[in-house]
């Protein structure tokens, strides 16, 4: 009993320390009410995509932001998670919980193998090796004709017992629950002894060695956790999209995840979610804006988006959470400061 009270206390402290994150998460819980009264059901769809991409970006942020490992291949884990649905159904397994289970196990193993090989290197090598492994898996699925090859395969939404995913709102809330759980887990992890050590490794690997710890083991565990989170996002992505193809793990998706994190703010819990909101809103609105100015070029919104990205890199330090912190006058990493409660 006291363990439960203890846990609730921990959650309360965490929520207090990460208000921006939980404001966003609960905003997503309330969003369907808004879209219902505003008569914008389409935006529920956008919100689901934001949550899915945001979740994956949060997973990547654990290694990228907190651990300082610039992985350029996390789309592969989204893809593996998605194919866990497709391939399971191909062999007649339609239970959504089973899909999730497969996804967690497979992504964990894939993360372990890729992490073990890639983490032997650092810097540019690490970036390119993670990219290369992702490409390897991409081409693997392109060449697997049994599972649709290039064209992919259409899938049914997983059967989650009493949760009927063909009810759009139940799918919405399944995704929301996953987002909330991932947020909760990451909130604990980054503040925990493990998370603190991971951040210390990013800051100074040799000092961590001098404390008698092997950085590689921490990085590996972080890498596997982030792979699993991306895998969960991918599994739900497949159910949402009702379709899986190698496109889901195209290398540009890994780039998108990085963009989302940078936009939102590196090594912050709320950053990836905030970045996902901005990224997808830009993706939805840029074609419209461009269409209003030059109708013939509405499709070519990337011509604006590309340079916009370069501008963010050159001039936007700290991302959106950085801007929010500056506006509200709190310090960047205020939620991680040590001290008695």
């Amino acid at each position: 009993m006291s363990a439960i009270r203890d846990f609730i206390g921990l959650v309360g402290d965490g929520v207090k320390a990460n208000q921006t994150l939980w404001l966003l998460v609960f905003g997503f819980a309330l969003f369907p009410i808004f879209s219902y009264f505003a008569d914008l059901p389409f935006w529920n769809d956008v919100a689901m995509r934001i949550m899915l991409l945001g979740m994956a970006a949060m997973g990547l942020n654990l290694v990228l932001g907190y651990g300082g490992m610039v992985s350029f291949g996390h789309a592969a884990f989204i893809g593996i998670g998605a194919y866990c649905v497709g391939i399971s159904q191909f062999y007649g397994i339609s239970n959504g919980w089973a899909h999730l289970g497969f996804s967690i196990v497979t992504c964990g193993l894939a993360g372990l193998v890729i992490g073990y090989l890639a983490l032997r290197t650092s810097g540019i090598y690490f970036i390119m090796i993670t990219l290369a492994f992702a490409q390897m898996l991409f081409f693997l699925f392109v060449s697997l004709e049994a599972y649709g090859g290039d064209d992919g395969m259409s899938v049914d939404r997983g059967e989650f017992g009493f949760i009927d995913l063909y009810d759009p709102l139940r799918l919405y809330f399944l995704i929301w629950c996953a987002l909330a759980l991932v947020s909760l887990a990451l909130m604990f992890i980054v503040r925990s002894r493990f998370g603190v050590t991971l951040r210390a490794i990013k800051s100074n690997e040799s000092r961590i060695e001098a404390m008698g710890l092997s950085p590689l083991r921490f990085k590996m565990v972080g890498y596997v956790i982030s792979a699993v989170i991306c895998g969960i996002a991918g599994t739900l992505f497949a159910s949402w999209q009702e379709y899986v193809s190698p496109d889901i793990m195209h290398w540009t998706r890994s780039g998108e995840l990085m963009i989302i994190i940078i936009l939102g703010g590196l090594a912050t819990l709320a950053g990836p979610l905030l970045g996902a909101i901005v990224f997808l809103l830009l993706e939805e609105s840029l074609p419209m804006l461009l269409g209003a100015v030059a109708p013939a070029y509405a499709e070519n919104w990337m011509i604006i988006f590309g340079p916009l990205l370069i501008m963010v890199v050159l001039f936007g330090r700290g991302g959106l959470t950085g801007i929010i912190d500056r506006l509200s006058g709190t310090r960047g990493n205020a939620d991680h400061k040590a001290g008695p409660r």
């Binding site: 921990l10 402290d13 965490g14 604990f188 992890i189 503040r191 925990s192 002894r193 493990f194 998370g195 603190v196 050590t197 951040r199 210390a200 990013k202 800051s203 100074n204 040799s206 000092r207 961590i208 060695e209 001098a210 404390m211 008698g212 710890l213 092997s214 921490f218 565990v221 991680h336 400061k337 040590a338 001290g339 008695p340 409660r341």
Partner: protein, 248 residues
Amino acid sequence: MSRAVLELQGLNKSFGALHATRDLSFCVNAGEIHALIGPNGAGKTTLIQQIYGALKPDTGHVLLNGKDITSLPVPGRVRAGIGRSFQISNVLMDFTVLENGIIAEQARLGQSFRFLRPAFDDPDLIAGARKILARVGLNDRADQRVGDLAHGERRMLELALALATAPQLLLLDEPMAGAGPEESQRMSQIIETLRGKLAILLIEHDMDAVFRLADRITVLVEGAVIASGTADEISNSAAVQTAYLGSE
């Protein structure tokens, strides 16, 4: 007869044509401050790296308390009882002083693989960290970001972190480098308090400090030991005079 904490047996290390460590053997005894001196390029840092495990010797053995640790990697050697401060302050710059202490404390306790409780709020860890910082008198700077500390304070913090693992052998690589006279004196005082408690291998260019602090001195020239003895023996050694002190 004092017991050898560190024993080096016939170490050799070459980088291409450069023979950085030549058939090198000596001991550091329990409780003594043992200084390693030599002109620039004598191979002091290369030797420290081999004791610490960052470099592997081509031949020879490193023994800690009689146990062969030659094949252990750095973290293993630290757990076996070696602590180290680096030539350039090696601390966690993005964290506060107290947070540095907390991370060291949880590493010492072997609790770094825990995922639930926030580390920086933990009263036990904070108490442990305070103890670590108290050894070098940094508790009043606990909430300072390390990036904002003065150079000398960073060196103190690094020493505190190196001591946190309760090492039997402490490697100090130029602890006074870049420090002002006051900071140097403070560092000397702290090293003095450690005398007799653990073995210290000290590399230092400040000869006054070396001769004041060291129980024994080993002189390294071109990767080989040319003399070893007490401060008096070394300052009276003709070989050292010509090879090293004379050339300064």
